[in-house]
């Protein structure tokens, strides 16, 4: 990104617009220290984001945390590091190399830094963190933990984070554990005081309290999606642990433990089953969905692959199910702790034979909540699996989001479910009969009434639900199902569209790319390039999506996979001609940055970058 995109005060100090990156070792407690740092900035009312870059490992390998502060609210990942908190000697070399000229490095000066690592164009702040912790704390474990807290103190001092904010956080966190609160306070002060005492040369970046977060909270997408499941009235969850989806079910369980106990008996108003694998997890969801429960499973790519057969069954036997695909870098095991949007084709057409599934693409944790609720409504209304496709970045990172709201008038859309009275009032019930002409037949639930009984099956059946090997009767049902799924297009959340006067080029994206793309649009606007914005939120695509694409000369689709999966879906499933489509791809596993989008758009439009002024 061009340096000049940052607002600088006269004395070349940038306020509330910079990137801090912390390099540590995983399994040492640094994750919670970094979270505190981000939370403190959040509490100062400043727009902030934190991206955890962690290895597929439990302990001892390099890990990073990237905090971006941006007063304008641009919170996509920005790889341009202003301050590196280099706590892992094993990665010193690459960490120090990453700092932008004029930036700074904090390191642990308990041991001297290798001469070769110093850079002239970067400030170095050595703090003897390990020494201080050895002096002040007892036991290896505590010393390691407190070193993290100590660097938080130092960063707080250098960036002018309000110490009271941090103290408040510690009080909340350790209210029950005085001992821990004490050590944490000591550690914070160690770092803070050392920095204030030793460094009079100030950093070129600084924080200043704002009031941008009044209506916001910090949450991860998995947490929000789990809460959506609670609010939607989901009662059965089945899953097999997999990064980055595991925390969704962890969150569901802990929300339920708090909010879903029967007040009288203390028993659970939900049932969460750790399945033996993903084939079983989706099987359990289908079993529960068949019974009439709202049921879901969170998983990631490998799990989706394993669910393939059952997804075809659900499509063809028309059983509601909600699947959260928290995407990670594929194919195969790939990079389990890196983000991607690589499963679109797989989920859109999962399973052999002719299928097409309903997909939703939340852009942030807030949408994870709302889309989760909607997913259950759609799954029951259309009697089919609905996929909520988020990704590791949305699912596992803390995002600053608008507070969630809930309308107490909400009534679940159960779709066409027949009650015992309905059934009794009917001449005969036929499971797959399109009575209303919308492709959606009515369903009956087991146990309700003998008149509703039928045999659900994945084998050939006719509109009456009877087994068939007759081609015409088979086709009749398949055609109706196709119609039914098309009908979902307009029932999905509407796409996000932002139009500018005179723009002839559309920038199209989905999910977590939103922030980077919007930021890129602003940056390009500064260069005089105006772009319209379309964020696709669901599949099958609604007419608004098609109209947008048709009404622009070029649509550049920005997404995080190698094969332009969204662009190709748009090509397949709208009337847009090939000539109007182009794409910008980044599939390296990190959350998307505006820089990549800007570069890509310039390239697609045949423009050269403007000179940094």
């Amino acid at each position: 990104m061009d340096r000049d995109s940052r607002d600088r005060t006269d004395d070349f100090v940038v306020t509330n617009d910079f990137v801090v990156k912390v390099a540590t070792v995983n399994g040492t407690g640094s994750a919670s220290a970094n979270g505190m740092l981000m939370q403190a900035i959040f509490r100062m009312g400043i727009p902030v984001s934190g991206k955890n870059v962690f290895p597929s490992n439990i302990q001892g390998l390099p890990t990073w945390y990237e905090i971006r502060v941006n007063k304008h609210g641009h919170l996509a990942r920005n790889p341009d590091v202003d301050l590196m908190v280099a706590m892992n000697p094993k990665t010193y070399e690459q960490d120090i190399a990453e700092v932008r000229p004029g930036g700074a490095v904090i390191y642990d000066s308990s041991w001297p830094l290798d001469e070769e690592l110093f850079r002239k164009d970067v400030l170095f702040f050595g703090i003897p963190l390990s020494h201080m912790c050895v002096e002040n704390f007892k036991g290896d474990r505590e010393r390691i933990l407190m070193k993290n807290i100590a660097y938080v103190g130092a960063v707080a001092a250098l960036l002018s984070i309000d110490l009271e904010v941090i103290k408040g956080m510690l009080e909340e966190k350790f209210s029950a554990k005085q001992h821990l609160m004490d050590s944490n306070n000591v550690a914070i002060r160690l770092g803070y005081d050392y920095a204030t005492e030793h460094f009079d040369c100030l950093l070129p970046i600084r924080l200043e309290a704002m009031d941008a977060n009044r209506d916001s909270v910090l949450m991860t997408g998995n947490m929000a999606a789990a809460l959506g499941c609670v609010y939607a009235g989901a009662t059965v969850g089945a899953w097999y642990p997999i990064t980055p989806a595991t925390s969704l079910m962890d969150a569901f369980r802990s929300f339920c433990a708090e909010l879903r106990k029967d007040p009288e008996t203390g028993k659970n108003l939900y049932c969460v089953i750790q399945a033996e694998d993903e084939l079983a997890a989706i099987g359990m969801v289908l079993g529960a969905g068949w019974m009439g429960a709202r049921a879901f499973t969170p998983t990631s790519g490998p799990g989706i692959s394993l669910m393939n057969e059952m997804l075809g069954l659900a499509y063809y036997a028309e059983i509601p199910a909600v699947i959260f695909d928290v995407q990670r870098t594929g194919p195969s095991t790939g990079m389990p702790t890196r983000t991607q949007q690589g499963d679109l084709f797989t989920i859109a057409f999962a399973s052999h034979g002719d299928t097409k599934h309903i997909l939703m693409f939340p852009a942030d944790p807030g949408e994870c909540f709302y889309f989760a609720v909607k997913a259950f409504d759609l799954a029951e209304r259309f009697q089919t699996p609905v996929f909520v496709a988020s990704d590791l970045d949305i699912g596992m990172n803390d995002w600053v989001c608008k507070k969630l709201e809930w309308d107490d008038a909400y009534v679940p859309d159960r779709g066409k479910v027949l009650s015992a009275e309905d059934l009794q009032g009917m001449d005969a019930f036929y499971r797959y009969l399109d009575v209303d002409g919308d492709g959606i037949p009515a369903r009956s639930l087991p146990g309700v009434d003998p008149k509703g009984a039928y045999l659900t099956r994945g084998s050939g059946h006719d509109r009456f639900g009877r087994y068939t090997e007759d081609g015409d009767l088979y086709q009749d049902v398949m055609d109706r199902i196709a119609r039914k799924i098309e009908g979902a297009a307009e029932a999905l959340p509407p796409p996000e569209v932002r139009l500018v006067d005179g723009a002839t080029v559309g920038l199209v994206t989905m999910g977590g790319c939103r922030g980077a793309v919007l930021e890129a649009i602003e940056l390009l606007a500064d260069e005089g390039i105006t772009l319209d914005f379309l964020r696709v939120t669901g599949f099958p695509f609604c007419t608004a999506v098609e109209e947008f694409l048709l009404s622009h000369d070029v649509n550049i689709v920005v997404e995080q996979n190698r094969d332009a999966q969204l662009m190709r879906l748009l090509l397949l499933e709208t009337a847009v001609p090939k000539s109007k489509l182009s794409s910008v791809l980044d599939y390296r596993g990190a959350p998307l940055s505006a820089e990549v989008v800007v570069g890509g758009v310039r390239d697609r439009l045949g423009l050269v970058p403007v000179e940094a002024g």
Partner: protein, 351 residues
């Protein structure tokens, strides 16, 4: 909803059960299996057991995988909901269904291919979770529907119709279930309705996973000489270790009056299963002894039959998960959704 109609001749004098239903009401559509297939006899036994248990038709959920055996839910209880799922995955579907609605009676029908090859993992884990269901394993030693390949239950030395001999050691569902901690393990023979019906009734009454492994000859592909799952071989080598009698809850129990060798086990609903050991000292409540006895007979080429093991007080899926007594599908939305105030409160912690 009706399936392919069966010629419906009503005998006015047919016996009626407490619900006023005849056994005919517990039937399904006409079987399309080969004439003489063991599975059809099991269907008949199932029909009779449900009838005799006075089970309301629509309170039963019948599930299956894929195979000839898995087709049979169409042939009984046509007024019960059914789910003919995919190959080997019925246990997970039954588990989810049971999680959602604990009040129905679950019967899963599967074959040896369905349960012991493609579905082995799910089968074992349903046992572990002690899902409350009758699991009927219609065991013929072959894949019937795909035309006679050996299944994993084929015995060493058993010969296929075309002559090849199986040499891999079989997976014996009964001893496997005992090893895995199953709470109810029975084995029977499709040709022995007298033994089978009370076992099915006990299994349906048992709270937990009730495995009923039934040797069910495939007349088309595995009923020849040299097969160890033929009618002849099973008749000859079947060995009843314990006789079972099922006494429904409301019947008067004449418990302790029997001979010394009779034990009675009271089920969670108050009905009673009475055992008379055929093999001296056989105790169907001692898992390890049951296992040892099974293996002993097996070494002699004999197939132990009967209700081999029962643990009537084990915890089932819902006990493990501590779910409410009311079926989850019946819990009103108001009790499930915490509402806007709670949402605000919750979020006050997320700052």
């Amino acid at each position: 909803m009706t399936q392919t109609a069966k010629p419906s001749v009503r005998h006015p004098r047919l016996k009626r059960n407490k619900l006023g239903l005849t056994q005919r009401d517990y039937e399904g559509s006409q079987s399309t299996l080969c004439a003489g297939c063991g599975h059809d006899s099991i269907t008949a036994a199932i029909t009779q057991a449900f009838f005799e248990l006075d089970m309301p038709l629509h309170r039963v959920a019948k599930l299956s995988g894929i195979g000839c055996s898995s087709k049979t839910p169409t042939y009984f209880l046509s007024e019960a909901h059914g789910f003919n799922s995919v190959h080997g995955r019925m246990p997970s579907i039954a588990t989810g269904a049971n999680a959602a609605n604990r009040d129905l009676s679950y019967i899963g029908v599967s074959g040896d291919g369905d349960s012991l090859s493609i579905g082995l993992g799910q089968f074992c884990h349903a046992i572990r979770r002690n899902v409350n269901m009758l699991y009927m394993l219609e065991n013929n030693g072959v894949y019937g529907l795909t035309k006679g390949q050996f299944s994993a239950s084929a015995d060493v030395g058993s010969r296929a119709k075309r002559g090849e001999e199986n040499r891999m050691s079989p997976i014996d569902p009964a001893s496997l279930a005992l090893t895995l901690g199953a709470s109810f393990v029975a084995r029977s023979f499709s040709g022995d309705k007298k033994q089978l019906v009370p076992i099915i009734k006990a299994a349906l009454t048992h709270r937990g996973f009730a495995l009923v492994d039934v040797i069910s000859p495939c007349v088309t592909f595995n009923d020849h000489e040299g097969s160890t799952k033929s009618y002849a071989h099973t008749r000859e080598h079947g060995h009843e270790v314990v006789e079972t009698d099922f006494v429904p809850i409301l019947h008067e129990i004449q418990a302790q009056q029997d001979h010394g060798s009779t034990t009675a086990v009271t089920m969670h609903d108050g009905s009673v299963v009475r055992f008379r050991s055929v093999d001296e000292g056989y105790d169907p409540t001692d898992r390890d002894a049951a296992y040892a006895h099974l293996k002993e007979l097996q070494a002699k080429g004999e197939v132990a039959t009967g209700l081999l093991f029962i643990e009537p007080t084990s915890m089932d899926l819902h006990a493990f998960e501590n779910t409410v007594d009311q079926p989850l599908v019946d819990v009103p939305f108001e009790k499930l959704c915490p509402g806007s105030e709670v949402l605000a409160e919750l979020q006050s912690r997320w700052r």
